[in-house]
Symmetry: C2
DNA sequence: GGTGATTCAAACAAAACTCTTTGAGATAAA
DNA sequence: TTTATCTCAAAGAGTTTTGTTTGAATCACC
């Protein structure tokens, strides 16, 4: 079995991920490792959640390590957020490396799933690097402002 | 403060990372958040460890998601490991996308710090993708085989 | 030598997470 | 309908992690 040292995955989680990756169904995996399909499902879900956490962690650190950071509150319009990027850039003598249309799609991509009606439904942390790059971290939900029920499908 | 939702960093850890990133010393951060410099050091270390864990997690998942995976035991010579890559590729009808010298430096880069005397000091998980790419995950220490004291500087 | 910045180990309580079981549903195909 | 596959919530016991304190140590620099 693959090593899990200094990883946020447990041995059990890697065990399940490996077998699932090889094409076995949850029931087959359950038999192989001696437990129930329901348990395999739970472990697999925990593993997936951990992988998502790892991705978000690196994105957050990447954003925080920019020389300027600021937070955009949930409910902000996309256009306003873009203005905030440029004005913070001006204030800190950073020339943003994107023109307005570029920045729009650059920001829209990672935020698409947290947006609706041209508004962002989450607090967003934005970082500006020395050389004008823009980094984004979609943060926690803020239903009070956005007026959306995140849990609904 | 930046959101830490669905992240493996705690609020405290992000708090410290943010202030440290802004250039404050550990003592200054300690005063700001009302604790000791020694504590700030500990929290910062935990945060760094978590970031490393996140990186290793993604590398492991990347390796595991390859269509063929196998493990190279600690103590293996670099040359033997490279032969293993090609022979597994042959077995599974995967044409490795690197020639021998390329593969050598490609594998040496991520494994350099775990190597000595042309041997690897750790178990290494290797994944081969459908299109011949090679992925590497340096695993747990195995001092019994490698005969090295990892803790020594 | 002294000083500022940082690191480290040990210990502890509180908090978070893990795997598991149980029992119930959801979905889609035969 | 039956079957296979997968999901979900709640609850429990066990393990791990976290933040913290204390006291000592390291390192670079004046």
């Amino acid at each position: 079995m693959a090593a899990v040292d200094s990883t946020i995955l447990t041995e059990r989680q890697v065990e399940v991920l490996e077998l699932r990756e090889q094409g076995y169904t949850q029931q087959e995996v359950a038999e192989k490792i001696g437990t129930t399909d329901s348990n395999v499902s739970a472990v697999e879900r925990a593993a997936t959640k951990n992988v998502e956490k790892a991705k978000r962690t690196l994105r957050l650190v990447d954003t925080l390590s920019a020389s300027v950071t600021f937070e955009v509150p949930a409910g902000t319009h996309f256009g306003d957020m873009i203005e905030m990027v440029y004005s913070h850039g001006d204030t800190c003598d950073i020339k943003i490396a994107y023109c307005r249309p570029e920045l729009y799609s650059y920001l829209y991509e990672p935020l698409e799933k947290y947006s609706a009606g041209n508004k962002i439904r989450r607090n967003v942390e934005i970082g500006l690097t020395h050389d004008g790059d823009v980094r984004v971290f979609p943060g926690e939900v803020n239903d009070a402002i956005s007026g959306f029920d995140e849990t609904r499908q």
